[in-house]
Symmetry: C2
Subunit: 120 residues, 2 copies
């Protein structure tokens, strides 16, 4: 399904979260799709099940996925995302804007990057 970078300084469970968020954002994983089971994914990636569980648990508490005990983990509708997440992302936006302008990326360039991406 994807690879991990063991050399990366970022913790494995965070890399996992990023990968899954990416898949959801790019609509590869859609609402109510099932995520790979903890044990299977752990075997495929040859990492510890507890590490997967940690990533899933965090994704769940952020509202990206939901869990049905005994059944599995599934992509949550974006409406169930936590408000605290939106706050955080607004802050991220402001922060990266300030930094981008400081290092010399100008507004038009930022506009371009925004338009280049999503649809909404």
């Amino acid at each position: 399904m994807f690879e991990l970078d063991v050399e990366n300084s970022k913790p494995i469970y965070e890399q996992l979260m990023d990968k899954f968020k990416e898949l959801m954002i790019n609509d590869v994983l859609q609402e109510h799709n099932q995520l790979p089971s903890i044990r299977i994914l752990a075997r495929e990636l040859t990492i510890n099940p507890n590490t997967i569980q940690k990533a899933y648990k965090q994704l769940e508490s952020d509202g990206y996925i939901y869990t049905l005990p005994g059944k599995g983990n599934f992509v949550a509708p974006p409406t169930s995302l936590k408000n605290s997440l939106e706050e955080k992302i607004r802050n991220d936006l402001e922060k990266v804007f300030a930094e981008a302008l400081y290092i010399g990326i100008d507004k038009h360039e930022i506009y371009r990057l925004l338009e280049k991406g999503g649809d909404s």
Copy 2:
């Protein structure tokens, strides 16, 4: 000069970097201004000098500041910022845009946040 949050999960040296970047971005610290000496700042914040040094060293390797051994640390002109940094910030921009759109923040809102901020 500023406070640190010991409870914060973010490492102290990263908090320090953020604080100084913020001061530079907001023009409180300007080109060639001297930063507080490692020992003095360590005493003021009651943290270990090595922690300050780590923050300064990282800021230097990113190109935010430059060091004159025996003299001190100084704010670098933005032109000396590393290209790798610009790459990183472009990625951050794209990533946070995708995430913002996914959670339901629309483009106009992002525009608003951008205009609210800097001047450039």
